[in-house]
């Protein structure tokens, strides 16, 4: 289901892959556009995203747990040891999720409403939390630099300063992230996935591969 509109800045046609997108980036003038009812409002611009090694790109397709999905957007972060992408994926049932991609190690997670999440200054590696009956252990707490956005996102998100993330793993390949971008921490839960299991198509090309 695609919705067409025009970029208020440069007039280029914007085609939405996802009807529920809240924010998108004009691929031509790099303006960040937020949907306000029928109109698109320009709220800023995003600098050119740095080159990164991810094989995934906007419009990459894949399968997660028997649901096919399309990659519609991305948020790029950097930290001391490198960078990673949070690819915004939309499944064929209309739900929105995240495919995190750090050096081709993938995890799929979904926003999980949860009360009583630890604040950023309290969370530390080794801590254990029980959410929805699963025990997760904090693996690492990372201070990351927001580097930019691309494509369609389910919320407004741009020009962030340093953001703290806590990654958690469980004993049965489950995965969770605590996102401290906003004043209220957000929890995303899901699982680590094997590259082959995602059956990714329409990936980037690499010289010599």
């Amino acid at each position: 289901m695609s919705v067409t509109a025009n970029c208020p800045n440069c007039g280029a046609p914007i085609q939405f892959l996802w009807s529920s997108a809240v924010q998108t980036v004009c691929p031509f003038c790099k303006s960040i556009l937020v949907r306000r009812d029928v109109n698109l409002e320009r709220v800023g611009a995003v600098a050119d995203l740095p080159q990164d090694g991810s094989p995934i790109q906007i419009a990459t397709e894949g399968v997660y747990r028997n649901h096919s999905f399309v990659v519609v957007g991305r948020i790029l972060y950097e930290y001391g040891e490198g960078g990673w992408n949070e690819w915004h994926i939309v499944l064929n049932d209309g739900s929105s999720g995240w495919l995190s991609d750090a050096q081709a190690e993938y995890a799929v997670s979904f926003l999980t409403p949860m009360a009583g999440l630890p604040p950023a200054d309290r969370v530390a590696p080794g801590q254990q939390y029980r959410w929805n009956g699963v025990v997760y252990e904090v693996i690492c707490v990372t201070r990351a630099r927001y580097r930019g956005v691309e494509g369609e996102l389910p919320f407004e998100y741009w020009d962030k300063s340093d953001v703290i993330f806590a990654d958690l793993e469980s004993r049965d390949a489950r995965f969770a992230t605590l996102d401290y971008s906003d004043p209220q921490p957000l929890l995303f839960t899901g699982e680590t996935v094997d590259c082959d299991a995602l059956r990714l198509k329409n990936l980037r090309q690499f010289e010599g591969w």
């Binding site: 085609q15 691929p27 031509f28 740095p50 080159q51 990164d52 090694g53 094989p55 790109q57 906007i58 419009a59 001391g80 040891e81 490198g82 960078g83 050096q103 081709a104 190690e105 995890a107 590696p125 252990e137 693996i139 690492c140 691309e150 494509g151 793993e169 469980s170 004993r171 049965d172 390949a173 995965f175 680590t192 590259c195 082959d196 990714l200 990936l203 980037r204 090309q205 690499f206 010289e207 010599g208 591969w209």
Partner: protein
């Protein structure tokens, strides 16, 4: 849609220190790259490739799989882009192993490790294992498998070459814990910032040589490696099952003979041996019939001697053919009491099992001998036809048990050699 971007390129550049050419094959994943010529460690993310440090290797190591080699591994192409040597100290002796970093832009990274000809195919594990104690053994459980703790050591990176998706420091240290469940190995690497778990699978060098089309032969493995699968797995159980089957068959055979052999008593009599009579004490028994097929004849002699001996010269003589089967038996029985209690040696009875006696009419010639000074002796002779020999069965059973025992011994020896290199060796610690 985004405007089509140029596919990421392999970067070619010159070392800022020695100007030697180098390539970056890991695309934007590479954080650190080592100049193959001067071994300087460079920052791949810096536009000028700033020198992070000059890597003072004591000894330059040539990787067995050259950097840049591509091979087909588990159905996908992989390229070797990084190499490092890591060393642990055990009892003051350094033990080093190699790690090869493999890259595929769609599949990410994996590793091949090598120690003394033993190779492992390693991937990062993203599930948390559970470390516990089980009957006095330190174990780790993950994905339904249990691994036994093998070794904990501090590893130092002593040589690096190629590219890495992380920052490499000379002398980088990590606490490494190995748990084994041959052919698999579960390892954890712990630094100040994080702990990373990985799963390794023992691989034959030949497979790697074939996958990467390497010339020559892989290095011969030395000793037994921690997660090297035992060639005896399953073999021990199988051979003992086979042994059990054969022993049961042997038992059946013996039962069959016990049932079908006649074991017929053909003669029985008691005699007295008068003292002093050593000469011409020979006599013959009345004739008796030995029926059936050519079989054994058992001659059982029971005496009442005490602290004395007697010797019986015996001959089983066929009245029709005039054939004689000559044999002899000694009886000696001594007993008494001493400081340790009562003791005894020998016994007052003896049995001889004569082989392959054809059927016919026979008598037994008996010539007993005694110590001339001995007192009288009363003795009885019982002759039975067709008695099975138990000796063959016992010997066969022993011979059947020897090969499985040998295989078990070898299998145990293999495991002992494996664990001799662990933290649990009797001497209290070994190498990697």
């Amino acid at each position: 849609m985004s405007a089509p971007a140029q596919p990421p390129q392999v970067k070619a550049l010159n070392c800022p220190n020695c100007a030697a050419p180098l390539t970056i094959r890991g695309f934007e994943h590479t954080l650190t790259v080592v100049c193959p010529n001067c071994l300087s460690v460079l920052d791949a993310k810096d536009p000028n490739f700033a020198i992070l440090e000059k890597f003072q290797a004591k000894q330059r190591v040539e990787p067995l799989i050259p950097l840049g080699t591509r091979g087909k591994w588990r159905g996908d192409p992989w390229e070797v882009i990084g190499f490092q040597v890591r060393t642990i100290m055990a009892d003051g002796v350094p033990y080093s192993w190699s790690e090869y970093l493999l890259f595929n832009p769609f599949k990410g990274f994996r590793y091949l490790t090598e120690y003394q000809g033993h190779w492992n195919d390693v991937t990062v594990l993203r599930t948390l294992p559970e470390v516990a104690m089980s009957s006095g053994n330190r174990i780790a459980r993950v994905l339904g498998q249990t691994f036994r703790h093998f070794q904990t050591a501090e590893a130092e990176t002593t040589f690096v070459l190629g590219e890495f998706p992380w920052r490499v420091h000379a002398g980088e240290r990590a606490r490494v814990m190995d748990f084994v469940a041959p052919p698999r190995m579960l390892s954890s690497e712990q630094t100040e910032s994080e702990t990373v778990w990985s799963l390794g699978e023992y691989t034959a060098g030949a497979r790697i040589w074939e996958a990467f089309q390497l010339p020559g032969k892989p290095p011969r493995p030395v000793g037994v490696f921690e997660n090297q699968p035992s060639p005896y797995t399953g073999s021990v159980k199988q051979i003992w099952l086979l042994c059990l089957f054969l022993l049961l068959s042997l038992l059946s055979v013996s039962q069959l003979f016990l049932i079908f052999d006649r074991q017929e008593k053909v003669f029985e009599h008691s005699y007295d041996f008068k003292p002093g009579a050593t000469q011409e004490a020979s006599f013959v028994t009345p004739e008796f019939d030995l029926k059936g097929r050519t079989s054994t004849v058992e001659v059982e002699i029971s005496t009442d001697i005490a602290n004395n001996w007697a010797y019986f010269n015996l001959a089983l003589i066929n009245t029709e053919t005039g054939q004689a089967l000559d044999f002899g038996r000694e009886v000696s029985y001594y007993y008494g009491r001493d400081s340790d209690g009562s003791w005894s040696e020998g016994g007052p009875h003896t049995t001889a099992l004569v082989p392959s006696v054809p059927p016919g009419r026979y008598y037994l010639r008996v010539e007993p001998e005694r110590d001339p000074a001995a007192s009288g002796m009363r003795y009885g002779i019982v002759i039975r036809r067709d008695v099975p020999s138990m000796m063959f069965l016992w010997i066969a059973a022993l011979l059947l048990v020897i090969p499985p025992a040998f295989v078990t011994f070898r299998a145990m020896g293999f495991e002992t050699t494996r664990w001799r290199e662990s933290d649990y060796a009797p001497s209290g610690g070994g190498g990697d």
